[in-house]
């Protein structure tokens, strides 16, 4: 509570009792009641977001909120350590479909690599030789 420095009630600071009277308490106590009993105060959200260390010295609803989130934190920590059931990996692997065949090449035939072996070379040579004879005969007629 803030100290009052005015002397509107006619008493000096020394004359005023240490505890406020019932009339004096009324307004200030009402203001301390939170508007919503479940609204998490900003300080608690910032603590839960890791921006602040655990708040201490809170009272009333704020203190209960801290206790509530501490309990809930124990439960969420347990969940964070949960593992996938051991059988699941094998089950997924067994259910995998066959690998899709690679897409057909769209490369044109004239750009494709030519693989030559002796048989292919001999056949190509023979074909060219035959073609040459046919062309020569046609020209000589």
């Amino acid at each position: 509570m803030l100290d009052r420095h005015d002397e509107r009630d006619g008493r000096s600071e020394r004359e005023r009792p240490l505890r406020p009277t019932a009339d004096e308490m009324g307004g200030s106590l009402e203001r301390e009641v939170p508007l919503s009993p479940v609204a998490a105060p900003d300080v608690i959200n910032r603590w839960l977001d890791g921006e602040l260390s655990e708040p201490t010295g809170l009272r009333g609803d704020a203190a209960r909120s801290v206790e509530f989130w501490r309990r809930l934190g124990e439960e969420t920590d347990k969940r964070r350590r949960m593992m996938t059931p051991v059988h699941l990996s094998a089950k997924i692997m067994d259910a995998l479909p066959p690998l899709a065949t690679p897409a057909r090449s769209v490369e044109p035939w004239y750009r494709k690599e030519v693989r030559m072996n002796p048989a292919v070379a001999f056949a190509a040579g023979a074909a060219l030789f035959t073609l040459g004879i046919i062309v020569a005969q046609a020209l000589l007629r």
């Binding site: 959200n45 839960l48 909120s65 989130w69 809930l72 439960e75 996938t84 059931p85 997924i92 995998l96």
Partner: protein, 188 residues
């Protein structure tokens, strides 16, 4: 076999790309390394979103199969790409649940566990948190789970969800407020 995630994001990206190249070349067993590497955070996400271990398993299986079939389309980080597949799978499941008018609370709450031992193992708070999470809109639930269960930073969340840090902070704060309103009476 548990494969550790490489230290830096660049190492991770390169390591994943290497595996993807192997898989695309026909080594399908290498895909298992990617499953081992990323299944835990993805499973936690699916479980948090659906509240059902069986559904989470199904979503994870379907997502990895989809990832395998479209592996040649991966550009950039594999973990971010596969996360989006899982996250969309969860959202689709939630949409279908609503469309078919099934009660989420009755049908797919994690109280329907496989064994009584698993059920006994669950604490009251865990059950209540699942029910409360089930009452949040999917976007708030997703943000809360990514922040509190998966332990991601707002920057990482923004990167994965394609939204801003400010929008995500707002969602997480609203989720906290809603969860506190739902659970406070019993636990505060």
């Amino acid at each position: 076999m548990k494969t550790t995630v490489p230290a830096s994001p660049i190492d991770q990206l390169e390591a994943d790309q290497e595996i993807i190249t192997k898989v695309l070349a026909g080594d399908r067993n290498s895909f298992g390394v990617l499953i081992q590497r990323y299944s835990d955070p993805l499973y936690r996400h699916a479980l948090g979103m659906t509240g059902s271990p069986d559904v989470a398993e199904d979503i994870l299986q379907m997502s990895f199969i989809k990832a395998f079939q479209h592996l040649s389309e991966v550009r950039g980080r594999f973990d971010a790409w596969v996360f989006r597949i899982v996250a969309n799978g969860c959202k689709d499941w939630l949409k279908n649940i609503r469309r078919t008018h099934l009660s989420y609370e009755e049908d797919d709450q994690p109280t329907s566990y496989a064994t009584p031992a698993e059920e006994l193992d669950r604490t009251e708070l865990r059950d209540d948190l699942d029910v409360a999470l089930g009452q949040l809109p999917p976007s708030l639930r997703e943000a809360f789970i990514m922040k509190h269960v998966e332990g991601r930073s707002y920057e990482e969340m923004a990167d994965l969800l394609g939204t801003t840090v400010g929008a995500l902070k707002m969602r997480v704060h609203r989720a906290r407020e809603a969860l506190q309103a739902l659970l406070e009476e019993k636990y505060a």
